[in-house]
């Protein structure tokens, strides 16, 4: 694995907004698991000590001048990674919910499968026990919606633990959903006939802070994502020709 890491240009991307309680631990955990791999924290204009703590833990910082939301924040990281010539980018949430020990598995699958995107899924191998009932219901709903669009079942469409290769990086640096991007991003990839695969990962309870999706916002979330999905389905774009599958 370490030779593979040295040969392939891999970047770990951590979007963060007011994550001072968890960010240093997340960066440190990533560095312990993937020594020598650069870690980029994209700070979405945090009001707390996120930047200082992330830099102190050894991360590089991409500081946005004002708050853009998750999609704009992640896309900024993808744009920089694309410009710097990275071949692979793995995104890990800054709140500590993703286990850094799953990164090598995502990277290995990304490198060997030929898929453009690898999703760290809490539902592969039944690891989704920590997920709330409401979120599980939402995930099941979006699985049902996405199944006919993607042509296959995605078990964890809301996962933020995602690895992409350079082809997907090129697409996302030009076009990436701005709010709640995970589900819409799958449709963006499907439109280009890109492939994704899910690998098992472990979810931990959020270390600090609260989820931005409150019960009231979850209704807005569902409507917004549904609209985004259908807009992406209907969007007129020159579709890429079918590629031979390497999976």
């Amino acid at each position: 694995m370490s030779q593979a890491v040295a040969e392939a240009k891999l970047l770990i991307l951590i979007p963060a907004f007011n994550e001072e309680g968890a960010i240093a631990g997340v960066v440190q955990a990533v560095k312990d698991v993937m020594p020598g791999v650069p870690v980029l924290v994209v700070d979405d204009c945090s009001q707390d000590a996120t930047v200082t703590l992330a830099r102190g833990a050894g991360a590089q910082i991409l500081a946005l001048p004002h708050h853009l939301g998750l999609g704009g924040c992640v896309q900024a990281g993808y744009k920089l990674a694309f410009e710097l010539g990275y071949d692979y980018v793995i995104r890990v949430d800054g709140d500590g919910q993703h286990d850094a020990r799953d990164i090598p598995g995502v990277f290995e699958t990304l490198r060997t499968s030929g898929c453009e995107m690898v999703i760290g899924s809490r539902f592969v191998n039944g690891n989704g026990g920590q997920t709330s009932r409401v979120r599980t219901a939402g995930i099941q709903f979006f699985r049902m919606v996405l199944r006919p669009i993607l042509g296959k079942t995605v078990r964890d469409p809301t996962s933020g633990f995602v690895g992409v290769n350079r082809r997907a990086l090129g697409v996302f640096s030009r076009s990436f959903p701005l709010e709640y991007p995970e589900i819409e991003a799958l449709v963006v990839l499907q439109r280009r006939r890109f492939q994704f695969v899910e690998v098992a990962c472990h979810m931990q309870p959020r270390r600090t802070g609260r989820s931005s999706i409150t019960p009231m916002k979850s209704i807005y979330y569902i409507v917004h994502v549904l609209l985004g999905v259908f807009v992406n389905v209907l969007k007129y774009e020159r579709r890429a020709p079918k590629q031979s599958r390497r999976v």
Partner: protein, 119 residues
Amino acid sequence: MDRLLNAMTGLSVLLIVMVLVSVRRARIRVEYSVAWLAGAAALLVFSRARVLLRTVADLLGVTYPPLALVLLVGSVFLLIFYRFSLIISQLKDDNIALAQRVAILEYHLQALKDHAAGC
């Protein structure tokens, strides 16, 4: 009918004055005031020209002319809102792209500074 049409006239005059004052104080750019001024002017003309309003009401099959005016005004302002939604969306996209570009340039600048400091 007269009272309603007078109210419409008052509203259109108020709108024209508000937009002109805002343009004068540079709160609204001239190019974005045009749609408002055109809409308000149309409202003013139709609320004063009864014959014209009756003709439009007949064309629309509306028996009560002020209702035709309300329909016309509503349609015009819906188009204005739509146009401004397009403009706002474009501005938001540009704003996000600019913010990302600023952040990336600052990143490169910091990398150059660090490199220079290390030499």
